[in-house]
Structure formats: structure tokens, C-alpha cells
């Protein structure tokens, strides 16, 4: 009788004891502190545009329209930039966009006007620049913009006149 009672008690204690050890086996916590590192990307260089020029008589003058077309620029695959700066150089006048859509809107904080495509994901973008005066030989360059980040201007386009 005593032996049976004792055996039962020991068995019960053993069962409880063993079951209680399981959580302890998984509780060997450890940690480590050190440095993690990351780096920021740099903006890509713009792609050189292609430019065509057309003329039209408006009133007594001749208006020149330059159509500037360039491929989309991406930060990385599938992530296009959000805007472009279109710049012009000409042999007979200052490099200021005189009209058309290339001037775009001025993005606050950038300090210069940019062209914001209606669809930044489009494979190619295009804008027009008009001038009522003869600019001589004209060339264009495209600079990608992403937020406040400004990339490197493309090489100048082939000259048009």
C-alpha cells in the first residue's frame, strides 16, 4: 500500500517536474548590439534628348517650336524619377525657355522650373519649347529630378537650327 502510494507520488512529481522543464529549454535568450549600415544612392544621369524644330507664321512673326523628346530615367528598375529639368543653350540668345510646355512648373525648394510628366512611368517624355526670336543653333539637355534630388544633366542634344 505504502509502496504503491509512494510510486504514484513520485511518478506525479516526475511528470510535473519534466513538463515544467520544457519552457526553460527554449529560454536561452541572447542578444547582440553593433552597427548596421546603409548608403544613399546618387541620382542617375539624364538621357540626351532628340530635338526637332518647326516654324509657323503667327501674325507678322515667325514662331519656332522645338519638340524635345527623351527616354524615361529611373532611380532603379521600375522606379522612374518624378520630374525633369529641361535646359537649352543657343548661339543667338540666353538659355531661357521662352514658352511651351518644357518650362513646366516650378517645384518648391528646387529653385528652377521643371517639367513634370503627366505620366512619370511613360517610357518616353516629350515637351515643346517655343520662341518668337531666332535662337540660332539650339541644343537641349535633360536633368532628372526626384523630390529634392537633382541628377546629372545629360549630354547636349544634337544641334538644331
Amino acid at each position: 500500500m505504502i509502496g504503491r502510494f509512494t510510486a504514484l507520488l513520485v511518478a506525479a512529481v516526475a511528470v510535473v517536474g519534466l513538463s515544467g522543464t520544457t519552457p526553460a529549454q527554449a529560454a536561452w535568450g541572447t542578444a547582440g548590439v553593433g552597427a548596421g549600415r546603409q548608403a544613399a544612392m546618387t541620382m542617375p544621369t539624364g538621357s540626351a534628348p532628340t530635338v526637332t524644330m518647326t516654324t509657323a507664321v503667327v501674325g507678322l512673326g515667325l514662331v519656332r517650336t522645338y519638340t524635345v523628346t527623351w527616354p524615361r530615367t529611373e532611380l532603379h528598375a521600375g522606379m522612374p524619377v518624378t520630374a525633369y529639368r529641361v535646359t537649352r543653350t543657343s548661339t543667338l540668345g540666353v538659355a531661357v525657355l521662352s514658352g511651351g510646355t518644357c518650362s513646366g512648373v516650378t517645384v518648391l525648394g528646387l529653385g528652377f522650373p521643371t517639367y513634370v510628366p503627366a505620366d512619370v512611368a511613360a517610357l518616353t517624355h516629350s515637351c515643346t519649347d517655343t520662341s518668337a526670336v531666332d535662337l540660332g543653333v539650339v541644343r537641349y539637355a535633360i536633368t532628372p529630378v526626384y523630390g529634392n534630388w537633382v541628377g546629372t544633366p545629360s549630354v547636349w542634344s544634337a544641334p538644331v537650327s
Binding site: M1, I2, F5, T6, L9, V10, A12, V13, A14, V16, G17, L18, G20, T21, T22, A24, Q25, A26, A27, W28, G29, T30, A31, G32, V33, G34, A35, G36, R37, Q38, A39, A40, M41, T42, M43, L75, G78, M79, Y146, G147, N148, W149, V150
Partner: protein, 188 residues
């Protein structure tokens, strides 16, 4: 002897007394067994934990778990201002480290916390402090990091750990970022 004489002299009362004495002994034995059992229970937790990680000296190491060794890794991706709809994948905001496990048991890292990010802009540029921040004070890894026992420094990528504010200035281009990273895990 005196008790024996009493028992022989009074047989009926003696059997009752004997049963009573037997019950007392049983209770005493039960108490002793229970006490031993209770001691085993208390000690059993520790004993079983020791055996969890091996025997002898290995157990001693397990009780004083050595910290994981975390060092700066080499970035395999780059960061840029976060778009309004978030980064397209978890790689952009990743943090790169190397981790060594000096313990003689494998460890699984499940939680990561990232401290204040230090910014080192490129020469001649500025990038305001706070332009890059941790995405959360503490994050549970969707895919825990498994480190074998005694693992040497292993490259570890912690996805979606940091982000650059969308208003980050132009001077943040090409900057380097470093942040204290705490990896927390358990033996596995």
C-alpha cells in the same frame, strides 16, 4: 519495550494504535517523498535546462550566454527618399550587418531594434540629421535569422529597417548611414 507490553496486554486497542501509527508513518513518508519531489521539481527545471545545451562545460556556457557579435556590413542596396506610397520592396530600406554567434548552440534571431541613424554626407554636401530614421523602434522579423552554433561573421540583411524622409535634401545623395542595431534571439 514498554509499548510492546502495552500492546500485548491490550490486543484490540493495540491493533487500532498500530493502524494509527502506520498512518502516521505513511503521512511522514509521504511528506518526505513530497518534499524530495518538490526539491526535484525545483531543481529539475535547472537540470533540464542544463542538459538542453549539452553536458559539462557546454552547460556552463549555456547558462552565461555570450552576446552575438554584430558589426557593420556592406550595403547591397541603396536608399533614396521614400515615395508617398512607400518603397517598392523591403530591400531599399534594409540595414546590413554581419553577425557571429560565439555560443556553442544555434541561435535564432527574431527581433531587431534600430537606434538613431548617424549620417555621413559626401564631401562638400549636407544631409540634415533625422533625414533617415528607423521604420520602427522594434520589429519582429518576418523571416527569423538562423545562426548555427559557433558561426563566424555572417552577412545579415535586416529588411525595411530604415527609411529616408521624402523631403530629404539633395545633399543626402551618396551619404552613408550607420545605426546601432540590437539583435535579440534565443537558442534553437
Amino acid at each position: 519495550m514498554c509499548t510492546c507490553t502495552d500492546i500485548h496486554g491490550q490486543p484490540t486497542a493495540t491493533r487500532a494504535d498500530a493502524r494509527k501509527a502506520g498512518r502516521k508513518r505513511n503521512r511522514r513518508r509521504a511528506a518526505v517523498v513530497f518534499s524530495i519531489g518538490a526539491l526535484m521539481l525545483g531543481g529539475g527545471v535547472a537540470w533540464a535546462a542544463w542538459t538542453n545545451s549539452g553536458t559539462g562545460a557546454a552547460n556552463a556556457k549555456a547558462t552565461t550566454a555570450t552576446a552575438l557579435v554584430v558589426t557593420a556590413g556592406t550595403p547591397a542596396s541603396t536608399l533614396y527618399p521614400e515615395p508617398s506610397n512607400g518603397y517598392p520592396n523591403s530591400t531599399v530600406g534594409a540595414i546590413y550587418t554581419t553577425v557571429a554567434n560565439p555560443n556553442n548552440y544555434p541561435v535564432t534571431v527574431t527581433t531587431v531594434s534600430v537606434g538613431t541613424v548617424s549620417i555621413t554626407p559626401q564631401a562638400g554636401k549636407t544631409c540634415a540629421a533625422g533625414s533617415v530614421v528607423a521604420t520602427a523602434a522594434s520589429m519582429t522579423l518576418a523571416t527569423p535569422i538562423s545562426l548555427p552554433a559557433n558561426a563566424s561573421a555572417t552577412a545579415v540583411t535586416i529588411p525595411s529597417a530604415v527609411k529616408m524622409l521624402g523631403t530629404a535634401e539633395d545633399g543626402c545623395q551618396g551619404a552613408s548611414f550607420s545605426a546601432p542595431v540590437t539583435l535579440t534571439g534565443a537558442s534553437s
